[in-house]
Amino acid sequence: MTFRTRLLAVSSLTVAGAVALVSGVVSVAARRAFDRIAEERRKAVVDQFQREVDWQYADVEYKVQRVAASDAVLQIAVEANKPEPDFSAFFDEARPQADAQALDFLDILQPDLTIISSASAPARFGYPSNWLIGDVVVLRHFLIRIPTNIGYVVAFAAVRAVSVGDKSILVVGARRLDSGFLALLTHTSGVHAMLWLADGNQVVDAWGTVAEPPKLAGLIDTVRHTHREASATVQWKSDPASAESVVALPLSHGDNLLGALLVGTSLREQVLLERNILWTGIGVAGAGILLGVLMGYWTTLRVTRPVAQLVSGVQAVAGGDWSARVDVQSRDEIGELAAAFNKMTEQLIEQRDRAIQAERVAAWRELARRLAHELKNPLFPLQITIENLQRARDRNPDEFEEVFRESTTTLLAELGNLKTIVGQFSDFAKMPQPEFQNVNASALVREVLKLFEAQFQTDARPRIELVLELAESGVEISADPLQLSRALRNLVLNAMDAMPEGGTLRLRTESADGMVRIEISDSGQGLSEEECARLFTPYYTTKRHGTGLGLAIVQSVVSDHHGRISVSGEPGRGATFTIELPARRDA
């Protein structure tokens, strides 16, 4: 991954992450706010429920009190004080009283709870009340479960005792807790009041029976078992916006759970807002990512363009173009880096020029030293010989002739040496361009070795054992056989020179990785590390008599053949020259 891509990715991810973080924080904050609002709304509804309950109790109490204070009930109370009371004339008194007071249930009872008159069940006169139990008599108001011909209902009830003389009767009135009551609780927008009745396990709201009470089963079970307030979230339809936070308030009479008021607070607004925030967040995040990508791209371009220029400059310098310059105008770190780079290349060029100049001077000095050294050797015998001639003519004219003959011979020999030295320098200067042709490296090695067969077999010098490890195939190369054989001859000669006491000369050819390798190893005195490093420097030699041009010529030939030469060795363990040349592709 490039620096530009990384930078682009980092900037985009940073923007997206920031947007996502902001969206998440806003979403969480909104949810908490809505939870707080829902909790407040729930409390408001519960408070309203308590107020409505108190009002209902007060209203029922008031109406029961009015019934208790009526003339008809007073007459019944008077009748109850008679020795043999006859309540038959009053069996239908409760109904008009209940109608007048808008009570759903009204019973006029004897103290033992036997019905004198019942508005809801007039036919039950003389029977004990089937919805009152003894303890209610001591209560002002209470919640009660009343059986009807359509099942049980829950009602707000109040009781009053009417006493005349020693006897008393009871007036018990009740108003049903039904859909109408639930409608009072739904004035607040988003609030859904429901009533669960333990008998029949039915759930009703202000509009009738709730269609899907199983969704409330878990909440109702909790209330049924704990008799305490519980809450749950109920999703009525597949749309999450239909969800309600439902709080169940148990309705009890003593230890009997009569049912529960279920107050549902709509989560629609919360869900819609969260959805809006989510989609807005996604939209903003998308736009942010897009913007981030664009900004990142622009920023990356601004940042990476000079970097890329720097990279190009460095690559150019690495490729040898030291004149490369980076054109960066910015004043930031990148600009400073570019300026430093430009300054560095200028200094490199200066140093290179100085190095070249110094190297040239050194080369000239070395050349002068070598020339002086090489020329000094033959010049000194020439001088001695001429001085001998002069001395012989002045002092021994009789022997001059003989001296002259010997001296001229010597002079000719030294002049020949001078000529050879000059020729070698001339050859090095005039190295021709190779003429390539198909050559088998192993065959070439064998031809070179033929030139030295006599020397290997002579007894005039210590014996050199020849070891050949030549590959038979795969060693075809494209080369100038004359130049390459000359180079090999030089290396073989060097090896023989390195083994004045005799030894082993090993020649090996092989093919590997598209290259043909030729190794010439000797078991001579070896080379130090410094010698290995300087061996191919022109005019450098480890021999007492040598121009130092042999290995330079070898390196020049190998280089002209697009190959490379290396040397390895240790003092006392011989040396190995390795020539690697490109193998012919069509071989």
Partner: protein, 324 residues
């Protein structure tokens, strides 16, 4: 009434307006209304043809009678009688309060209170029978008929719902007509009722939902039955397992009344008793009460009398405050 002063002396003239709940379609002799009250109304109107003649007839609504000048007993006192049919209890009460009716029907539950309040009333002998009628095709209901008859607390209904009007009875013919009605058992035996009704299936129970007389009695019967372990499920229509019905004793003669009810008449009281018991069993009836007909009379209505079977005697009726 031996020394009638001038103000209390019968006078001719005036229009008597009667509101009734019954509504009859025609006055043809062969057409017997299914409703016993309608039948009683028709009989009453037909009886008056003699002292009166039908001057106008609007089926189900109005009958107008005018005096027959050549009646054997002499011209009746009233110049005109308007009988308005199909009037509900509420309509009748309003008409009476507004002076639009001189005679209206009085629910038996209100009779006692009305009499205590000094309201002028007119009642007949018990001539209506309230009974349970079990489905004729359900022979297996004989045991339930007995159980239900034993489960019903007749005295409570009589004292409270009927305000002690009429009589508790296990017979079809009232005591005043047959003389042996007391022989039919009416006592409540809840234990035996429970025993007979053990593991019984619920029964459908129907009554005339429009009848203010039958509704509370039916509801009380349901309560009594439940106490005995008998479940009565309210239903409508003639196909119910049990129906609460009203039968009209249409004759002052016991044998004739029994014949009209479908029994075999006899001059021998013992055979009459047997015949009536057979009739009760064959028709799968459980008689409960014998009830009179009751009317509320306006202050100006005088000499209103009804026969034992509830028949009107309008030829004797005269109105006060009518200019001769």
């Amino acid at each position: 009434m031996a020394s009638l002063n001038a103000a209390r002396r019968p006078r001719y003239g005036g229009t008597l307006r009667i509101d009734v709940s019954g509504a009859i379609q025609s006055l043809d002799a062969g057409d017997v209304p299914a409703d016993p009250l309608d039948a009683a109304l028709k009989e009453n109107i037909q009886r008056e043809v003699g002292p009166f003649r039908v001057a106008a007839w609007e089926p189900m609504k109005t009958v107008v009678l005018e005096p027959n000048e050549l009646a054997p007993g002499g011209r009746p006192y009233l110049d005109r009688i308007e009988i308005h049919m199909g009037r509900t209890s509420r309509d009748q009460a309003l008409d009476f309060e507004l002076g639009k009716a001189d005679v209206v029907e009085l629910p038996l539950a209100d009779l006692r209170r009305a009499q205590q309040q000094g309201v002028r009333t007119g009642t007949s002998q018990p001539c209506l029978v309230i009974a349970l009628a079990f489905a004729g095709h359900r022979g297996d209901l004989d045991g339930m008929r007995q159980a239900l008859s034993l489960a019903i607390d007749r005295p409570a209904i009589h004292n409270v719902l009927l305000q002690k009007q009429g009589e508790i009875s296990g017979s079809l013919l009232p005591q005043w007509l047959s003389g042996y009605a007391f022989l039919f058992p009416v006592a409540r035996d809840l234990s035996k009722a429970k025993e007979l009704a053990a593991s019984s299936a619920p029964l459908s129970f129907a009554w005339d939902k429009q009848s203010p007389l039958l509704r509370p009695i039916a509801e009380r019967i349901v309560v009594n039955a439940a106490e005995a372990g008998i479940t009565l499920r309210p239903a409508t229509g003639p196909d119910a397992d049990v129906r609460l019905v009203i039968l009209h004793i249409a004759s002052d003669d016991g044998a004739e009344a029994l014949r009209l009810l479908g029994g075999r008449p006899s001059a021998d009281p013992l055979k009459m008793f047997e015949a009536e018991r057979e009739l009760i069993d064959s028709r799968r009836l459980a008689p409960l009460f014998q009830l009179p007909l009751a009317y509320e009379l306006a202050p100006g209505v005088n000499a209103w009398t009804t026969g034992p079977s509830g028949n009107w005697r309008l030829e004797d009726v005269w109105l006060e405050g009518v200019k001769p």
